[in-house]
Amino acid sequence: MKRFAGWTLASPAMFVVVLFLVLPVLATLWTTLTTPDGPLATYLAFFGSGFRRTVLWRTIQVSLATTAISLVIGFLTAYVISRAPGWLKSILIIAAVFPLLTGVVVRSFAWLIILGRNGILNNFLIGTGLTDEPFAMLYTQGAVITAMVYLFVPLMILTLAGVLESIPDELLQASASLGATPRATFLQVTLPLAVPGLIVGAVLVFTGSFTSYATPQLLGGESVMMMGTLMYQQAMVTFDWVSASTIAAVMVVITIAIVLVMTRLARRLNPMAV
């Protein structure tokens, strides 16, 4: 009876996810394995193309850089937030949530105004006499990484603020009363306890950057093509759906592999779990 009631209530949502997500995505993956040239032909073509390898490698580089920078900035900021007095803490969390709830187009667009040829940064540099010619900052890897760090730092701050918040004060007090310097407490107590959170945050940021579309499209354009923009171009501009499906498959496999491996690692490295 209980089993029946449970299944009945869960079935509409289950039906929607299976019918409109699981089956269509499996169909996309299936088309890459069933081309007339044999099951792996599309993958050989993908990894055989110098251009596509470059795009994949660039996407990995940009995502790794974004993740590393967001980790450092996010962790230090979250640490400051976790030690701030209550009223300030709420203000800081609001300041981090606001960009997070603002859309990706708006946030990438802001960097278009800042980094453009006649943008704020160039005007500032020319105005102060630091340079005579505007720098070409848009459509560079740096522009994409900057905007992506901007996109993902709030997510990192919120994830890590929650983690740091949950570290019991008694542990830090115990460490201090046993004679540890603040620095030693930070390195030997706080940091190890935050490792699982750091891994979760890193996974969120890496997979988010790896599969992003709007930011590389607006700030990278044709010259900083990434996996997402390449996939869109193959699907909607050149209408090569087998090629687009192959890129989709590579994205799915890498994303899910990273999530599985890293969450397992996070569990293993959690000092609180015995």
């Binding site: 209980k2 089993r3 009631a5 449970g6 299944w7 009945t8 209530l9 949502a13 289950m14 996810v17 299976v18 409109f20 997500l21 699981v22 089956l23 269509p24 995505v25 900035i73 230090l76 900021t77 400051v80 030690r83 701030a84 709420s90 800081l92 969390i93 300041a95 949530v97 606001f98 960009p99 997070l100 709830l101 603002t102 859309g103 187009v105 708006v106 802001a110 105004i113 800042i114 453009g116 006649n118 704020i120 901007y150 730092v153 701050i157 994830t159 603020a161 929650g162 790896f210 579309y213 709007a214 607006l218 997402g228 996939m231 869109y232 699907a235 759906w241 499906s245 989709a248 799915v252």
Partner: protein
């Protein structure tokens, strides 16, 4: 307990928050500029770029479409997500573990892949109209938020209250509406709001679902930005930020914003 933080760290945090808020301030400034190009600080204050939004038919149309899609998909996600979340909390032992994994799948699968797959299988192969495909895509996009937020508020619900009502003769549906729903009301409001804002801001699914006369606001913003470099996009961005502020106020009232940090 001393909560001392190294001054250098505080200085860094200040810089980070300038980095977070600054670009949005710049967008607001650019939206208010009287010039026909994007600039900051604004040269001459004017609201004409806000009027311009509504003079462009594509913006009028996509704003309406985006609102419709957001309401529809959030509504559907709530209708199917609340029972699912309930089942997973109430009958946890009777249901297999992979079920909860199934409901987070939409987060795990890259949105672009989902959008493309929906286009290929649903919109093209089964010739489902683009508009309906958009609703389906957005429903999948927001479903994990709904299930997660409702589950979180059900975790604090004492199911014996519900059993008491039923044993006193209350029919199941009435019990649901009079006992359960009022108890998770703040969760439902928060789920609605988060789902709504996620749908309004979505790019990666909607980018594949554009047809004759159908597109969503973020896609129109992208297209406009690539063609023109005037402050219209900045003023639309300001409208979206106003919406975000309203959303944050509601979440703060119902759950407290720290909820989002969990």
């Amino acid at each position: 307990m001393t909560r001392s933080v190294h001054p250098a760290l505080i200085g860094l945090a200040v810089l980070v928050f300038i980095f977070l808020v600054g670009p949005l301030v710049i967008v607001v400034g650019a939206a208010l500029s009287d010039t026909s190009f994007l600039t900051f600080p604004p040269q001459g204050l004017s609201l004409r770029w806000f009027e311009n939004i509504f003079e462009i038919a594509a913006f009028r149309r996509t704003i309406v479409t985006s609102l419709q899609i957001a309401f529809l998909s959030t509504g559907i996600a709530l209708v199917i997500g609340i029972p699912a979340a309930y089942a997973m909390n109430r009958y946890r032992i009777a249901l297999p573990g992979w079920l909860s994994t199934l409901f987070v799948l939409p987060v795990l699968v890259p949105e672009l892949v989902l959008g493309f797959s929906l286009l290929k299988s649903v919109a093209v192969q089964f010739t489902v109209p683009i508009y309906i495909s958009l609703v389906i895509g957005h429903t999948l996009l927001v479903l994990p938020y709904v299930v997660r937020v409702i589950s979180a508020s059900l975790a604090n619900f004492d199911f014996s209250v519900e059993e008491a009502a039923i044993s006193l003769g209350s029919p199941p549906l009435k019990t649901f509406f009079t006992i359960l729903l009022p108890n998770v009301r703040s969760g439902v409001i928060a789920a609605f709001i988060l789902a709504f804002i996620t749908s309004i801001n979505d790019v990666s699914i909607s980018i594949f679902m554009t047809g004759p006369g159908i597109s969503t606001l973020p896609i129109q913003l992208l297209a406009h930005t690539e063609q023109f470099f005037d402050p219209t996009v900045a003023s639309v961005s300001v409208l979206l930020m106003v919406l975000t502020v309203a959303v944050m106020a509601i979440v703060e009232r119902t759950l407290g914003l720290t909820f989002l940090a969990k």
